[in-house]
């Protein structure tokens, strides 16, 4: 038993490096997708202190809208443009109907409101586009779909899906763009000001409502990108919702306000989960992917309650 836990997996990793590399790559891609969802959370949390539970659903909703429009005869890129518009309208609507009336309420109330939003979007999305899974229109959007095999002499081969590579590249571009947006533009500065102190930001003439609409829109765009990438790997359906919960442990690891934290947290969870499932999962009957991420986050929290990048909390009275 102890051998199975502490020795055997490592022996396997050494003996079959191609399989191990493949697992690492799978973990990497999963991690990128978790990180993208987490990124949407971080954007909104940074600017409004709202823990947006609906981010996962926004991913599905964006994907559904895109696919649904295309199914009804709208050309792929027009559909993409229209989906961006829809996400903009959604962001404005959320700011107007949900966030503005709830300003200054305790965190838990805002959290509940976003869970209510989640329910609403699930019902709304299914009502309009139906509940059955849909295929993502990857080729129509000129995303690569093939795969490349890398050989290692006799030691086997590793297969990389092109869509995964594209996902990684797009994620990197998006993080870079957000970084520039936050640090170099006027709106980015206003955003950071709002994040620090709502009232102080108001007092120097920053419009909270405008900033929030922008942030929700940005989160919507991130959700759309995530939805496309994710949809291309599996299908677009509300089953993704349960996977979207995985963004929560990612946030715990990375901290609620750190963009690099979201990325690194996502990768840790992605790697940990795949390696854990494939090398140790079999010992307890498999399927441990469903909770391993949370347990990793839980154990991590016990030792570093402030997260990976948070500063040590000094309690004051």
């Amino acid at each position: 038993m102890l051998y199975d836990i502490f020795v055997d997996p490592f022996v396997q990793m050494y003996q079959m490096p191609d399989f191990f590399l493949q697992v690492l790559w799978e973990g990497f891609v999963a991690g990128i997708l978790y990180a993208l969802i987490a990124l949407g959370f971080v954007l909104i949390f940074k600017a409004s202190g709202v823990f947006n539970f609906a981010q996962g659903i926004m991913v599905v909703f964006a994907g559904l809208t895109l696919v649904g429009l295309h199914e009804n005869g709208v050309p792929a890129f027009v559909a993409l443009g229209l989906t961006i518009v829809v996400m903009g309208v959604l962001a404005y609507g959320i700011e107007r109907v949900v966030m503005r009336p709830l300003v200054n309420q305790p965190d838990i109330i805002l959290l509940m409101a976003t869970i209510g939003l989640t329910y609403f979007l699930i019902g709304f999305g299914e009502f309009i586009f139906g509940g059955e899974p849909k295929r993502m229109i990857a080729e129509e959007l000129w995303l690569p779909t093939g795969s490349t095999a890398f050989e290692f002499g006799e030691r086997g081969l590793v297969i990389l899906q092109h869509i995964d590579i594209a996902a990684a590249v797009i994620a990197i571009i998006m993080v870079a763009a957000l970084g520039i947006f936050f640090n170099k533009t006027r709106i980015g500065r206003a955003l950071r000001a709002v994040a620090d102190d709502h009232q102080a930001a108001l007092s120097v003439g920053i419009s909270l409502n405008q900033i929030w609409a922008i942030v929700w829109f940005a989160a919507g765009l991130v959700a759309l990108a995530t939805g496309i990438m994710w949809g291309a790997r599996s299908d677009v359906s509300f089953a993704l919702e349960i996977v979207a919960f995985k963004a929560l442990p990612v946030l715990i690891l990375g901290g609620f306000t750190s963009i690099p934290g979201a990325i690194i947290g996502g990768l840790i969870i992605g790697f940990g989960e795949k390696i854990g499932e494939l090398y140790w999962g079999g010992l307890v009957g498999g399927g441990i992917e469903s909770w391993l991420a949370y347990i990793i986050a839980l154990i991590f929290l016990l030792f570093r309650p402030q997260g990976l990048f948070g500063e040590k909390i000094i309690e004051r009275v």
């Binding site: 949900v98 609403f120 699930i122 946030l251 986050a297």
Partner: protein, 358 residues
């Protein structure tokens, strides 16, 4: 005018500290109990009992359980569904191992298993607060759900992977299993719910309830006043999980007859959380109001379209239900973030000064 306590003087601290110090409240409570124990059983049909009253009471009890933890002790939990599941599976195992023992007793005992597991998952609460804690309770939710699926021993190796409640009698009346009458189930569920609600109301007004609220309102000050944070929080976790466990066991024994792991999924956790928030955090009566709203509203939504002659597919109704429930949650949070319990208080205040505005 209608609700005026003027002239009701308290001459002892004892009467001032009673559960319902005001006469009108005592009358109101007596009326509610009379309706629940006498009027409903006499008048209700089977459908009303099985589809509305029994689930309503089960969910009320679960909402009370979560309210102890979240509303009174301030620890946010998203693992309620799994803790209810622990109760259900524990009661199932117990009653299949010891078929001769009274099933109601086992339902009450099963809560202790849930309490133990709840306390274990409550351990991180010493160091982790707020939303972070919510995520760790998700760990409990998903881990326990996985256990319900992957450990065949828990469901006696049933091919279906579900637990099916056997026929059990109490005092010669069948109370569980498919043959039990709705009325018998209703009385058992009502009895347990009222009994636990009464006990927990006692705890909440005494030292322990106060220590939970101290932790909730300002944990540092509480600690500096001699409250042991870990002990207090673990107790809240244990008591809360006990109640949820009993509710979960009642759910399968007296309502559903059979349950799969998915019956105790994260969606159940959210449903209970909605009930607590909409009912009002930190209010026992709110737990009942919230449960009534979240459970009865979708049931009504299902019947309204056909009642007014609209032909809508079952799926569409479900989608619409989601939309409406989500929308109403947001609406009520905006109108009154403190829930129905606060609305009721405001209404009482209005009744008190009626017919004058102040």
């Amino acid at each position: 005018m209608f609700y005026r306590e003027a002239g009701q003087f308290k001459t002892s601290y004892q009467s001032d500290q009673a559960m319902f110090p005001i006469l009108q409240d005592r009358i109101g409570m007596a009326v509610i109990l009379a309706v629940a124990f006498i009027v409903v059983p006499l008048t209700a049909n089977d459908f009303f009992l099985t589809s509305i009253m029994i689930p309503f009471l089960v969910f009320s009890l679960a909402a009370i359980g979560l309210n102890v933890l979240t509303g009174f002790c301030g620890q946010l939990s998203l693992g309620t569904g799994a803790f209810m599941g622990v109760g259900a599976y524990a009661a199932y195992k117990l009653t299949t191992i010891f078929p001769d023992v009274n099933v109601v007793l086992f339902v009450l005992i099963s809560g202790f298993f849930s309490a133990g597991i709840g306390a274990i998952f409550g351990l991180p609460s010493l160091r982790i607060k707020g939303l972070y804690l919510a995520v760790t309770t998700l760990a409990a939710q998903f881990f326990l759900e996985w256990c319900f699926i992957r450990i065949p021993w828990l469901y006696n190796d049933n091919a279906s992977g579900a637990i099916e409640v056997p026929k059990r009698e109490m005092f010669g009346v069948i109370v569980s299993g498919a043959e039990a009458t709705p009325l018998a189930r209703y009385f058992v569920v009502l009895g347990i719910t009222v009994f636990i609600a009464f006990l927990i109301a006692n705890v909440l007004r005494g030292r322990i309830g106060r220590s939970w609220m101290m932790i909730r309102d300002m944990d540092i000050a509480a600690e500096l006043m001699g409250i042991r944070p870990l002990q207090t929080k673990l107790m809240a976790f244990a008591v809360s999980s006990y109640i949820c466990g009993v509710a979960g066991a009642m759910m399968v024994f007296f309502w559903l007859n059979a349950a799969e792991p998915s019956s105790y999924s994260i969606n159940l956790s959210f449903q209970i959380l909605f009930m607590v928030i909409l009912g009002g955090l930190g209010s026992l009566s709110g737990a009942f109001l919230g449960a009534a709203f979240i459970w009865i509203l979708p049931v009504m939504l299902k019947f309204i379209p056909s009642a007014i002659g609209l032909e809508i597919g079952a799926e569409t109704v479900e989608h619409l239900t989601f939309m409406v429930v989500g929308g109403l949650i947001i609406f009520f949070l905006i109108v009154e973030p403190h829930g129905f319990a606060r609305l009721w208080q405001i209404a009482k205040q209005k009744l008190r000064v009626w017919p004058f505005p102040y």
